[in-house]
Symmetry: C2
């Protein structure tokens, strides 16, 4: 998606340790006009797919998911991150390892909002190691719902999440970063 790549080049900041900061428009300040264009692009890429629910994960996925959901005309469910020890039996839950934060947390979705008959599109802002999306895919499977695909705004193509997820489902990443140079700030996108 050319508009997105231009925006990443203009406002993205490459930091030490392969960190790409996009908090000017994606995950701290949120450009909802761009989100709408992102939604239209996902709609095009999942054309003809029967989707009745979007599943995302808190926090930064929620805004994008909601604007995208308006275009798909479906509700959003977001998985909650929790460190609560005692989780009631009325939720689907799995563990997710966060490389960014160096810890493992539980994610949960109420059984009331995901189940047989649902045809689910996952939406998230970032895909790197893919643990969050892998966790969401597991919740979908556990619930008896069908995973239709996953839509990601930015994929770090040099990390393993994308390849792993493509084996499981129809993955669409709107910008795939293949390399970043923290010295020059240069970002190389996959063609």
């Amino acid at each position: 998606m050319e508009l997105l790549k231009e925006r990443i080049r203009k406002d993205g900041v490459v930091k030490e340790g392969n960190v790409l900061k996009v908090d000017r428009f994606l995950n701290h300040q949120m450009d909802v006009k761009l989100f709408r264009e992102i939604g239209k692009e996902f709609k095009k890429r999942f054309e003809g797919e029967d989707i009745n629910k979007i599943l995302t994960i808190e926090a930064s996925g929620i805004g994008i998911a909601c604007v995208v959901a308006e275009i798909f005309d479906v509700p959003v469910v977001f998985a909650k991150k929790t460190q609560t020890k005692n989780i009631a039996g009325d939720v689907y839950t799995t563990k997710v390892e966060s490389f960014t934060h160096g810890r493992v947390y539980d994610i949960i979705v109420s059984k009331e909002f995901l189940g047989e008959g649902d045809r689910v599109l996952l939406i998230d802002d970032f895909l790197a190691n893919g643990k969050a999306l892998e966790g969401l895919a597991k919740l979908v499977k556990d619930s008896g719902a069908e995973l239709v695909g996953a839509g990601v705004v930015i994929e770090k193509g040099f990390q393993p999440g994308g390849d792993f997820l493509r084996k499981q489902t129809h993955l669409e990443s709107l910008a795939i970063v293949d390399a970043m140079d923290e010295k020059t700030g240069e970002i190389t996108f996959r063609e």
Copy 2:
């Protein structure tokens, strides 16, 4: 807002301890069509106000804020909750006490995204004791931006947050719950 009150009556669940669960449409599963109507209502109630930014707090405020922001045609900034000890100097920060979770956490907003010249509308899903919105208002003040008002979807009118916030700014709550009966499930709204 009649549509919202009807929805709360239909899908809200009154639980022990004055808890109103609205996770079927507001803060776990999210009905983005309703969010759009909510956005139109806020637009009407803040008619004529000069607003260039919406500020909310993760997680459940983000989805509503983004859909509302599309109607106001402004970007969203969301304050992040953190328990990180060392917060860099490039953020505004304050402490917020959560009654629901029984703890105190720091909220932060990058200085890059809030400052002089900004005219800010706060948006959140719930207002009870008002500590989260009070924290957001403090960040706005600290940044030199101007607080134009606060838009809340559901206010618990029997808790002190609303009265406190009304003294500070133009508060609009789309549904004010004055009483709940956990035995009958009855919800009394303020006229």
